[in-house]
Amino acid sequence: MSDLRDLYQEIIIDHGRHPRNFGILPEANLHKEGFNPLCGDKVIIHVQEKNGVVEKIMFEGTGCAISIASTSLMSEALKGKTKQEIESIFSDFHELVTHTQANEKVKERLGKLAVMSGVAEFPVRVKCATLGWHTLKAALLRDAELVTTEDNL
């Protein structure tokens, strides 16, 4: 197992304690609730989307440092991105947190989000890191089903 410091990097602890874009978003036109039935964590994502561009993301919920930080970082990184861009970032992010030897190019493309790479060494925490992301994806797809991490194996 790698060092705990790889998992709990300072940026993650900071975003876990002081999440950005945390709260409701009155202008949001898409809302989605996500749930991790294994640990009881919940996230509600509010998205303001216009003409295929995500103008703002806010979120609420309870979760561990990893899930709150990951959703917080996501809400910053995806602001102003198109749905296509988000799809490609989503797939990069998924590779980052599930492959211990994630491609350097992937990390480069992800920029600040690459701090989440330590999660790959802790397989039981991958679901924490991806809950907010899967929930956002479902919100953008206007998927009516409740998101649970158990659908995303």
Partner: protein
């Protein structure tokens, strides 16, 4: 007390985890197994295995004898009046489902009521909800106080002519509360209502006497009580079991079969369709021998001492809150730490070689009752000692250093 003299009986505990000595504090989830249980299962497969109840040859006779001896051993262990009242299932969950479906089919109809408590594990909630969906019966919930004790006055008021069964946990897997089930059974019987006791968290930790309790059904698992996984027991009073229909059909549970009609075997076989988990039944019997050699009162005392020590140490942290402060508890301590999520506690402790449970503990309604999304839980077995508690306390300091 510094060392548990029983620790050496559990080979798995001598390993290092993340370069630290393993501190196993998750026995309420599943206990570790003593060498005697591991060897019993292994010896069975090495020397004695054949299918039971049908062979006319030596191996089958030997396997059948060991299997049925295990049933007798379990009967004596819980002081049931007859071995016919001991049914093997795959675990507590399967046992509650068996009773819910079979008792339900015989006795529960639309608008009838089933009483459970607010501290039940999902396995003592969902099987009854399924039955309610099938029959139109209703669930009534015994509320709990903030300290984690059941509100018995409210319990008494839940009974009426439509109440058909009470299903309640003896010891809570989260709060640790030991419920006064003897008294609760008496109250139910005064209302002519039978009681199912979920004993999953009680059987490994204290003496249990089903005749003295006078419960109608008692269910438990082997794997929390130093035995193999995949085995559990339903105790049921003969008078009920004889009136209940089979739960599953198949081999072993029949008397005669024709395409027109089959007749069923007597209890307990009526409820044991198919080839059972023979090896692990025999392994569970060895686990019971192990517990009895130590003595259930000694086990209870050992864990009570640890519980008091750990509770006192945890309360020294101003930011730790213990969930469940009942007067009578088994060796289970659920807690939350201000501003630090249980999962993060679990990961940092694991990094220090300490295994605890973090999450909702299959008791979401209970989490809601205490207004927490999840909690951390340390639980004790006979192999734990004060050194394990000290390691946990050191671990919590480490957690706080990470996040504060």
């Amino acid at each position: 007390m510094t060392n548990s003299k029983y620790r050496k009986d559990f080979p798995i505990l001598s390993q290092l985890v993340h370069d630290k000595p393993l501190v196993f504090l998750d026995s309420a989830n599943s206990s570790q197994k003593p060498l005697s249980v591991i060897e019993t299962v292994s010896n069975y497969y090495l020397n004695d295995h054949a299918n039971i109840h049908r062979g006319i040859y030596e191996l089958s006779i030997r396997a059948t004898k060991k299997f049925e001896d295990a049933r007798l051993n379990i009967q004596k262990f819980i002081n049931a009046s007859s071995a016919h009242e001991i049914i093997f299932t795959s675990g507590t969950t399967a046992g509650i489902n068996l009773i819910a479906q079979s008792f339900g089919k015989a006795f529960i109809k639309e608008n009838d009521e089933i009483i459970i408590s607010a501290m039940e594990h999902h396995s003592n909630i969902v099987p009854w909800q399924l039955l309610c969906e099938q029959t139109g019966a209703k669930l009534k919930i015994i509320p709990i106080f903030d300290n984690g004790e059941l509100d018995l006055d409210s319990y008494k008021k839940l009974f009426n002519a439509r109440t058909k069964i009470v299903s309640v946990v003896q010891a809570s897997n989260v709060l640790g509360t030991i419920n006064p089930i003897r008294e609760m059974i008496k109250i139910a019987h005064e209302n002519n209502v039978p009681v199912l006791v979920d004993g999953a968290q009680a059987i490994p930790h204290m003496p249990v006497d089903v005749s003295d309790l006078d419960c109608d059904f008692y269910v438990f698992s082997s794997h929390k009580a130093y035995g193999p996984t995949g085995i559990g027991v339903v105790y049921g009073k003969e008078k009920w079991l004889n009136r209940m229909p089979p739960y599953q059909g198949g081999g072993d549970m029949i008397e005669t079969v024709s395409f027109e009609k089959s007749t069923y075997n007597k209890i307990p076989y009526k409820f044991e369709a198919g080839t059972p988990n023979i090896a692990d039944v025999i392994g569970f019997s060895a686990a019971i021998d192990y517990m009895q050699q130590i003595g259930m009162k000694t086990i209870f005392q050992h864990e009570q001492t640890l519980l008091q020590y750990a509770t006192q140490k945890l309360l020294e942290f101003p930011d730790v809150k213990i969930i469940g402060t009942a007067n009578n508890k088994v060796g289970v301590i659920a807690f939350v730490l201000d501003h630090i999520h249980p999962h993060d506690i679990g990961t940092v402790l694991d990094y220090n070689g300490i295994a605890i449970r973090a999450g909702h503990h299959c008791a979401m309604p209970l989490m809601e009752r205490f207004n927490i999304p999840a909690c951390a839980r340390a639980s004790f077995g006979i192999y734990n000692d004060e050194k394990d508690v000290d390691a946990l306390i050191e671990g919590i300091y480490a957690v706080k250093r990470w996040f504060n």
